[in-house]
């Protein structure tokens, strides 16, 4: 089945936030963000801005009727700065005017005086100063300390990954309308309607039931609208609350870029020990997460880093320590993979370090240590593993040893170009690691004309969840999918939603739809059995026809619905699903947090131009664990898309803050994401089929896992660079930009004591504001 959204997408008829027809009298907002990354506010002068033609009112923390607080995990994030600013772009005031142009112009007239305080951008420095947002957490398996003695080889090092700008092409925004009984309707581009609703209720000091949050679809989210859509929606709602007028704010790209957080950068220490046979005996990692100025989702992101610190390998002795470090960057946040990729990069760097010194190919170590079913992960979950199966299928399908031979031949024959190959096997846990969030509700209405309306807590953002929900409903009722309409996500219809995140949206909401449909189906069978004078067990549905004892009857779906209505049968159902089996105890850091894991193995080949330092990803081939896919077209799209996004993070996407916390990669002209020419010429995805009852109809989650195949590109580039300059030992510091490639191609012999380049590039400072 094709994506049900595509028809209107290709015609430009899909409605996104900025496309909603505006009511007359709509006002427009624009936020004034702090021009400094850290300091005490001495004076805020709004007078000139207030005089600007068209300005209606300017809001600050003084106007908040409830709490000036929007922190979701930790209550540490003010909506508006009161006395102190903690990052550049932190909202200080919100201008509301009669036009977008006037609001934006008035923002520029606001004057602020700030006594600067020290700006911290490096997570390790923050840790040294004791600036932690949450207490440190440690995962332990076996006994790392005593295991080092048993290792034949021990290596240690540093691995760093930079942030990543979400760059959803639709920027953040919201549109709020006053309703009667002091209620507000909120259109917002968010992955988390309930997060918006509950923080808004706190800020406005009104109950959640007065806030109707509605989301039709997002023009991309990738985690960037999981928690960070909240600010903009509340700013609009605050203005609507006071002015009783519709208020809209759709951020301009540059404002979106400098005022919102990104993927968390990490700097990590690793230590890995192996025996003579290349079995990993012990692994120790310390993660310094750059959380930015407040917790946002960073503690959860960091938790997922710990959950994925050994990627797809079994290691008997593990100690993983994490620090959630407060810096003066905008609060960093969820991004596809949610800390998993950051953790997996470090173990891959450790394996690569060992391979380099031992003179073996990294894939020898990778292959030897893959998870087997029953192996225990550092947090106690015993896995059902397909790691070996995926690896073996990849080896066979792609003839990896032949690929290696071809590359060494190429590298012998060529001076100007070198190729590198890397394998990236993955294992990614599906479920929210916060157990509470693993619940969902669906509301299914069957109307008397036989059409079906489905509401869930799932937000459509390109991942195809609406199509999957329609597939679930139409397949249970055995009706034409065109009879099923997936409604917008709305907190008046579905309450207490979990955000659309953690790759779990289709599973959680799909299971709830399945339950609701089955309830209605049971009632319909009862009606049919009465009409056809048989038992409910005799009734089956097929292609809108009712069958009795496997024999086709005259009774159709629409007739049955009308009959059921006449008999006063309930044709609506609200179902609740909570993932079974999962549990976790953070006190001992043990449990079974994931419903299942997704596996896969990718191989990639990169060609480096050794004169210019540029490179081309020639091919990425993948064997991916689909479970049993219910929608190939959507799943392939998710996988190919994830790979390219991961590849972008590892190659050209470079977030640059200077030491004053000023974002220097602040526009699409300075922050580059993959374009049509950046994708590998060959991108093959082959399915590995497995059984997974915890996935909706057995179709495993595809949202996040494929992103991590992109990590292979980093190691392939590194191998190609080292093939040219065998004196160099490039720092494990992603992204591997053309700059780093060239500097390493021509690097003199590196002393082992040299420190990595910092994640946040130490550029000279620049006072210009965006």
């Amino acid at each position: 089945m094709k994506n049900i959204e595509t028809f209107t997408h290709v015609r430009g008829e899909s409605i996104y936030l900025d496309d909603i027809p505006e009511l007359s009298g709509t006002l427009y907002g624009a936020a004034f963000g702090s021009p400094h990354a850290h300091g005490k506010i001495r004076k805020l002068d709004l007078s000139e801005a207030l005089d600007y033609p068209g300005v209606v009112r300017i809001f600050t923390y003084d106007d908040i009727p409830g709490k000036n607080q929007i922190g979701s995990i930790v209550a540490d994030e003010e909506l508006f700065a009161e006395d102190e600013v903690h990052f550049r772009g932190m909202p200080v005031a919100f201008v509301v005017a009669e036009s977008d142009e006037a609001a934006r112009a008035a923002v520029k007239k606001i004057k602020i005086e700030i006594d600067p305080l020290e700006v911290i951008t490096d997570p390790r420095v923050a840790k040294e100063m004791g600036n932690l947002l949450t207490p440190s957490r440690t995962f332990n398996l076996g006994d790392c300390e005593s295991a080092w003695d048993k290792c034949a080889h021990i290596f240690q090092g540093i691995a760093e990954t930079n942030g990543q700008e979400h760059l959803y092409i639709e920027t953040q925004g919201a549109y709020t309308l006053p309703l009667d009984h002091d209620s507000i309707k909120v259109f917002t581009s968010t992955q988390g309607p309930t997060a918006v609703q509950s923080h808004m209720a706190d800020v406005l000091g009104i109950p959640m039931h007065r806030l109707e949050v509605e989301v039709t679809r997002l023009g991309g989210g990738f985690g960037g609208k999981e928690d960070q859509a909240t600010t903009w929606a509340i700013l609009c709602a605050l203005a609507t609350y006071h002015l009783r007028k519709p208020v809209k704010y759709s951020l301009h790209r540059l404002d979106d870029m400098w005022m919102t957080g990104k993927r968390n950068p990490y700097s990590s220490d690793f230590k890995i020990g192996l025996d003579q046979d290349l079995k990993i005996i012990a692994y120790q990692a310390t993660f310094y997460q750059n959380a930015g100025a407040s917790a946002d989702l960073s503690p959860s992101v960091l938790e997922r880093t710990l959950f994925h610190c050994t990627n797809t390998y079994f290691i008997p002795n593990v100690k993983a320590v994490s620090y959630c470090c407060r810096t003066n960057l905008p609060p960093n946040t969820a991004f596809r993979g949610f800390g998993g990729p950051q953790g997996m990069f470090v173990i891959e760097a450790a394996i690569n370090t060992a391979a380099e010194y031992l003179g073996v190919s990294a894939l020898e170590i990778q292959r030897k240590n893959l998870l087997k079913t029953g192996d225990e992960l550092p947090f106690g979950q015993k896995v059902k593993s397909y790691a070996n199966e995926c690896w073996q299928q990849a080896e066979k399908l792609f003839d990896i040893s032949q690929m290696q031979r071809d590359i060494s031949h190429f590298n012998k024959e060529n001076n100007l170009f070198k190729k590198g190959l890397a394998i990236m096997p993955i294992c990614f846990g599906i479920s929210f690691t916060k157990i509470t969030l693993n619940q969902a509700r669906a509301l299914v209405h069957v109307y008397i004309d036989g059409s079906v309306g489905v509401s869930t807590g799932a937000v459509e953002m390109g991942q195809g969840v609406n199509t999957k929900m329609a597939q679930v409903a139409s397949s249970i009722f055995s009706i034409d999918p065109a009879r099923v309409k997936i409604h917008s996500t709305n907190t008046y219809r579905i309450s207490n939603t979990s955000p659309s995140a953690a790759s779990a949206t289709a599973d959680l909401n799909g299971k709830a739809v399945e339950m609701a449909c089955n309830e209605i189906l049971g009632r319909l069978k009862f009606v049919a059995s009465e009409m056809l004078h048989c038992t409910e067990l005799d009734i089956t549905f097929s292609n809108e026809i009712i069958f009795c004892k496997e024999k086709q009857t005259e009774l159709t779906w629409t007739q049955l619905i009308q009959a059921a209505y006449t008999r006063r049968t309930a044709l609506s159902e609200h179902a609740h699903y909570a993932t079974p089996e999962i549990h976790y105890n953070p006190t001992i850091e043990k449990g079974h947090p994931f419903a299942y894991h997704v596996y896969g193995t990718s191989v990639c080949v990169v060609k480096v131009d050794c004169v210019r330092g540029t490179y081309e990803v020639e091919e990425i081939k993948v064997v991916h664990d689909f479970g049993k896919p219910i929608n190939d077209l959507i799943d392939y799209g998710q996988i190919e898309g994830g790979i390219v996004q991961g590849m972008g993070w590892m190659t050209m996407e470079e977030i640059i803050y200077d030491q004053n916390g000023v974002l220097r990669s602040n526009a699409l002209s300075t922050y580059k994401v993959p374009d049509i020419y950046s994708v590998p010429k060959t991108l093959e995805v082959h399915p590995f089929l497995s059984d997974e009852p915890m996935a909706i109809f057995g179709s495993k989650a595809t949202g996040e896992p494929p992103l991590m195949y992109g990590l292979g590109v980093y190691f392939a580039i590194r191998n190609a660079v080292c093939a040219f300059n065998n004196n160099c030992s490039p720092a494990y510091s992603a992204p591997f930009t053309p700059e780093k490639v060239l500097m390493n191609l021509y690097a003199p012999i590196k002393k082992s004591s040299e420190k990595n380049e910092p994640t946040i590039t130490g550029l000279e400072t620049n006072q210009t504001q965006p």
Partner: protein, 474 residues
Amino acid sequence: MLQFILNNKEIITSLPSGSVLLDFIRYERKLTGTKIGCREGDCGACTVLVGTLAGDKIIYRAMTSCLVPLGNIAHKHIVTVEGINMEVLTKVQEFMNDAGATQCGFCTPGFIMSLTGYCLQSDDFSNEKALASIDGNICRCTGYKSIERAAARIVNTMKHLKNQNRIDFLIEEKILPSYFNTINARLRSLGQKAATNGTYTTGEKKYFTGGGTDLYVQRPEEMKYTDSHFMSFDEEMQTIKVENGICTIGGSATVTALLESAFLKKYFLRNSEFIKLISSTPIRNMATIGGNFVNASPIGDLTIFFLALEATLILTNGVEDRKILLKDFYLGYKKLDKHSDEYIRAVTFIVPDENCFFNFEKVSKRTHLDIASVNTALFLKLEGEKIIEARLSAGGVGPTPMILKKTSASLLGNAVDISLIKKCIMQAMEEISPMGDARGTAAYKTLLLEQLIKAHFITLFPELNFSEMIKSVV
């Protein structure tokens, strides 16, 4: 009053000619299929087609409507996604739909318009060219592979185009709705000559606006209410011609015109490779050579290209012409030897003969649609073995785009060999003063220029033995 046709409707508007087409489409006409992604021409979500009468035909080009001032579209046909929608999906839409080539869908109308533009304009029905038409569209989700598969089917459809009228063919193939064959006559009947649309005042703040691709990134608010003289209506200023060994390029010639010019192709065999490194299709369709020079970016690609050709600018104030060498045009960072009432009427250079060698190199974080970390061009003229003319230009290594004068001079009178190249690099390193910024540290830019100088010679003189030089830094 501005007149143009938007989709199937004649429009007359009194809005300022400096306001941008994107806002007009979305907020005046409420056509919301055209999306806002970045407002700086870097994402392609707002791509529309602009049809211009040329002889008896209309030439359609894809442009990012966020950077198109209304003044530039007078008497043209503007096509948004709503303007191609029919009851059934168009072929382009259908192939995208079949390939599952949409995810969040926000970038989709832009891709649809670029690919429809390809069907309207391209004469090369290869997959490569179809992909080139979407080089300015970013899909963050990122469904490029499925978009590629859709594009391949579009190419196959276009291969059926034989000698018939293209618009008729596209209507028949359900790529365009049928009203398209009425547009030609309707554009002609819009009346008075287009050039009168550009208003020109002698007030303090006046602009000569070419494509607007930089002005509207740098100062969109200011441009909206500024009277501009829109240069794109002077046909003379868009021509590329060669007379008496001199090539003359009109100041308003677009980068696309340079890319497609048969003259330039003849003299610079790799011209299309060079030009493809400059920006993206929709931007190249708007950006002009004069604009690129006046913008004075220290890393302007065309500037670097033409510096090495020792191009001469013909500046004019409408009354008097003044000639100046391009290399003398830049006085300092963003400082030009240009009076406020002057604009670049034309650019000239001596057509290279068979003894001339030319190469252009550019490295950026992303190969396409990115601003260079360093760019450079090398021009050499040989007499026998000896270099008798040499110009090495480089951008990103100083406050202005520059000719490395001493380095260029040091090449004269010598034969090209490895030791000369080393000498050339050493000399170049003394002439540059790169600064660290978002496009690279100073150390990187220094090394990169060294490497790109090597790349010039490797490309132009592949017979030399570079093996020893490649492995080392001079």
